[in-house]
């Protein structure tokens, strides 16, 4: 007896959250800013975590693979921020920051309003994120640099945590395998 549920575009929840057009999500042309276009590699590469065009920016706005999704999905996009020692905003599923904290990373709630992380409704979360990004962009660049100074211990901590992530994962697995194989 086969009891499988076939998947289709309607079951891809990530792309259905704005079907009534509450937010303008119409498709735009591709665009590459000169700061990236003038780099030797012309465009960002998903398999590289450290890029020259990170150097002069304050905050990385990470648009994760999914946004309307029941579980946090942290990918290389967030790790790229951490490897480059940048503050970040995660445009992703709810609880993404909570998840990062649960595996030892820290975030930037002394400068960025991170209440977006608990907003379940995707329209409300996107509106909140957009307003927060606009607020940050209205600040003088000196305030961004001050925030970087105020958070340099967090940036260094996150970098160290990333370096140690592989050994942490292997220790966790050791613990589990020791238990199930004993």
């Amino acid at each position: 007896m086969k009891v499988r549920i076939l998947t289709n575009t309607n079951t891809r929840v990530n792309e259905n959250w704005n079907s009534y057009g509450d937010i303008n999500s119409s498709v735009q042309e591709s665009y590459v800013a000169k700061e990236i276009a003038t780099q030797s590699n012309k465009q960002h590469k998903t398999n590289s975590l450290q890029e020259d065009f990170y150097i002069d920016i304050g905050i990385d706005i990470v648009t994760e693979t999914v946004f309307n999704y029941p579980n946090p999905q942290i990918t290389e996009k967030t790790f790229r921020s951490i490897a480059n020692k940048k503050m970040f905003i995660v445009v992703g599923p709810p609880r993404s920051l909570q998840y990062l904290k649960s595996v030892g990373f820290e975030t930037f709630d002394n400068f960025i309003n991170e209440d977006y992380d608990v907003i379940q409704n995707p329209i409300q979360r996107m509106n909140f994120l957009c307003n927060e990004i606009k607020r940050i962009c209205e600040l003088d660049i000196k305030e961004i640099n001050n925030a970087i100074k105020n958070n340099d211990d967090v940036l260094n901590h996150n970098f160290e945590q990333l370096i140690n992530l592989q050994s942490h994962d292997l220790k966790k697995l050791d613990h589990i395998f020791n238990r199930i194989l004993s």
Partner: protein
Amino acid sequence: MTIKKILKYNLTENFLNYLEDRINVIDYINIADLTNEQDYNDLKTQIENTKKDSFNKDDFYVVSHFDTDYYLPNCPYGLLMFNFIRTIQEVDVSLNNVIVLTNIDNLLDEIKYIIPQDKHETELPIVIDKCLSICRNNYVHDDYQNIPINYNVKKHALVLFGKERVHRNALYNFINQNNLKEKIVVSYRNNESKNINKHKHTS
């Protein structure tokens, strides 16, 4: 360890070596490969061909669950995981012989909705959650260059959008409509194949 194997199962070489040192891997299964009925029929054949009459305690099917699943409204579990578990049940392999590696944090809760409650003590897979570094596509390693923090940045922010998605379109349109490209360095490669000659550079 062959490159083909590393790519197919989306696990790092270090981790594949670690696994094969610790357990007897009967087979690897990548949930992301299971998208249509034929895939599940192939999986069923694959498991039937590899299942044992009796399993040792270190015999396991290793399942990679790092890609996004499909969900119906108000349904608490992903459809790919549902279909995978039903297939395992069809071929009468105990879920005790299945290890699921995932990057999400509550997969076992989802699976419990698929398995009858009276089997929760005896018939659940081993789920290892929050596995972030063993997924090959996360490119996590321990050899990053320790770069100095820049306390004198010139731009407020950066967005590397990547492939087109609804949430990326929404944010990109907001940035455009509010003239924020002077403050935010933006790269959006949506429809790149269609618009290959239409890239604009800021002046």
